[in-house]
Symmetry: C2
Subunit: 426 residues, 2 copies
């Protein structure tokens, strides 16, 4: 296919009027499709329904150690659930605290605790003139919302195909004591789908932070969320690497079963050094008497162990793969060679990230909306909702059916074409 | 019975040696009983087991409005659960946010949010020189732990039989802008069991705080936790009263089903003015995508409505009453007229509060421990664990069986007697 940039003005105008006919046809269909948020679809939720049977009125409600899950206790989670989450997060059980239903909530609490109480005895961040976080972009809007809420200055760091631009990360972290953290989704990143290379993870572990209370916020949200059986990303264990590099306390790892069992009714966990665990528990013991242990037991009885989790996630992959491929096939067929957009084919996670021509993202999202297809707002993948190039669009293929995804993707590519032509015509 | 203070030194010595014989007998039994924490007992937990059957793999998982409880959404809780909690808290559904498993966690978050973000736009408390909370004493140790963690100065306010000393509350709140809050358990108070009189509630509502961001933390933990069918305490609705008094935003009400369904696996809620609700939701939407809605649905399907809750709590009362009476009967029989201790017979809640002779509480708790009976640490019912009179002891009769409670109470009165005699002998 001929790249748009190589077309004459007349060619573009002819193409535009043909595309406008397509637009009218799609407009007449009165579509209503949503590709805005990474919500599991109905058939994924159905996979976990038998979990609701494993705990019932006849169940033994005690943990392996004999603790009654129905009563107060086990602040850091029941042992068998800590083990399950530890195996999923590839760390030792002692490094894990199992929490409530949301890893986002743990991340929020971790930032909030640092604001009010400091990090392992450091000056509380709220007492400092300025606190900064590094934000690999494009990234996860809800991470950025947390740091924005607390008035933490966010600095964009380009996310490359193998992870964040580590030259820039090192420059900031190793020189500026106001830089206290970095948001990372190291595997099947939200939204680009890339995974951090071994070299990137090692460079993270070998940071020499100017601030003793600098922490890596390692949101391993998609640790076992593969789309394929044969090509699965594997990342280095950051906790081990930090330990080896002499930075044992530098990382917090977060994960949950929100996209494994049920969003909102899963279990979440934080993994970090024993020293950090002790500090966190001192605060947690004031915050709560304990999290929902019956739900922890429900998860353990249903999944049994890491192999149960992996087998379950294979089924998720089988459901998600056709939805991703529906989008990617249409991109490939309709956009390849036109040089009006770029995307990465992800091997896992929940998103496809699309980079339009600079200055086109907002217009594409608006045009899709006019055809009844809702996308994540343009700019959402950047701190302060400000994509300096107005280029990145996050596509969430999980919730609609494959057929709906195909239709939505067709709308999307049409809008990309129309907006790009308008941009070029000036 | 003759009061100890009217006994001669010889009489006390004779009595002491008889009591020491009793001590030896009990010591030889090698008891191991725990009256330390307000944990429901096994038979109470059994009452809620059928709740674990109402949601299973065949259940309709949608709310009345058709929202799928298994997926993200409904930040403030599913409608039918908000209604259930609203009825329990005697407020309108619109004034309620249903949260996670723990009202303590909501209270912690509410203080934490005020520290970092302020109250409806006020200066964040962490930016202030000094923040103070009023603490009716004796009170709930976990309340005091929250304010202590955040470095908030706590001021003791005597708790009378009808509520806190309101002259003192008014003096502090209406004159000192550093006073930002007060911890209250208005019904079946922890630990004294008293309920606030209408006059006290009205005086609360008519406070004229020097600080615009002063808030009443109204922990209605035992709102439907009656011990008797015929004599039930009823308190005025603080939200209504504050509204009428022109202080609509002055109160946060907290409650949960921790001691109704399962501790750790219940649902909790906050009720407050619509303006406060809006402000809280702005922060909550950054903290979490939503709480466990399947568990909310489970509670609604099991209890159905407020009548279901009340019927359930009647069964709880039937289980708890004999345990309370076992203690109170022994107190009555063994301590009445001796003038070495005072207690109130509660009509609900989870505790019996005992005031020993000044300077005796720690020694009594220690002596009970030497006989294998664990009580809440003396001083725990005061901020900073500092009971200035060393007099108050909290007794939690819920967890042991009535027979165990009787035995534990016998140990307790013996220790009270021995320590009191030692005190008097000097």
């Amino acid at each position: 296919m001929k790249a748009y940039k190589d077309m004459s003005r007349d060619e573009l105008l002819t193409l535009k009027s043909a595309l406008q006919e397509e637009y009218k046809v799609l407009e007449s269909k009165g579509l209503s499709l949503n590709m805005a948020r990474g919500k599991p679809g109905a058939s994924q939720l159905a996979l976990a329904m038998p979990m609701l049977d494993v705990i019932n009125s006849c169940s033994d409600m005690n943990t392996v150690l004999g603790n009654d899950t129905r009563n107060y206790g086990d602040l850091d989670g029941i042992g068998e659930c800590r083990k399950l989450m530890a195996d999923m997060m590839e760390v030792a059980k002692d490094n894990v605290i199992v929490c409530g239903n949301s890893s986002l909530n743990i991340m929020y609490d971790t930032v909030s605790r640092s604001m009010t109480l400091g990090v392992n005895g450091s000056t509380p961040w709220c007492k400092l003139e300025k606190v900064k976080f590094l934000c690999p972009v494009p990234g996860y809007d809800r991470h950025f919302a947390i740091t924005e809420l607390f008035g933490i200055e966010m600095i964009n760091i380009p996310l490359n195909d193998d992870g964040p631009d580590m030259d820039l990360v090192e420059k900031y972290v190793n020189n500026d004591p106001a830089v206290k953290g970095i948001w990372c989704v190291p595997k099947y990143a939200n939204p680009t789908g890339i995974s951090y290379s071994d070299e990137v993870v090692e460079r993270f572990a070998h940071l020499k932070p100017a601030a003793e209370d600098f922490r890596i916020f390692w949101d391993n949200a998609y640790c076992i969320h593969h789309l394929y059986d044969d090509v699965q990303d594997k990342i280095l264990n950051i906790l081990d690497e930090c330990e080896k590099a002499g930075n044992p306390d530098m990382v917090y790892i977060f994960a949950s079963t929100s996209k494994i069992s049920f969003p909102g009714s899963g279990v979440s966990a934080i993994a970090t050094s024993l020293k950090n665990i002790e500090y966190i528990k001192k605060q947690m013991t004031v915050q709560t008497i304990g999290h929902d242990k019956i739900n922890q037991l429900r998860h353990v009885r249903f999944f049994k162990d890491i192999n149960g989790l992996l087998a379950h996630m294979k089924q998720h992959g089988d459901i998600l793969r056709p939805k991703f491929e529906a989008v990617l096939d249409i991109f490939e067929k309709e956009l390849k060679g036109l040089e009006i957009g770029e995307w990465i084919k992800p091997r896992g996670g929940y998103f496809i990230s699309f980079n339009a021509l600079p200055g086109c993202a907002k217009a594409i999202v608006a045009k899709c909306k006019s055809l009844g297809v809702v996308l994540t707002g343009a700019g959402a993948t950047y701190p302060y909702h400000n994509d300096p190039l107005d280029s990145n669009i996050r596509i969430a293929p999980s919730f609609p059916t494959p057929e709906e995804m195909e239709l939505a993707a067709k709308v999307f590519v049409l809008c990309v074409k129309l907006v790009s032509i308008d941009k070029m015509l000036g």
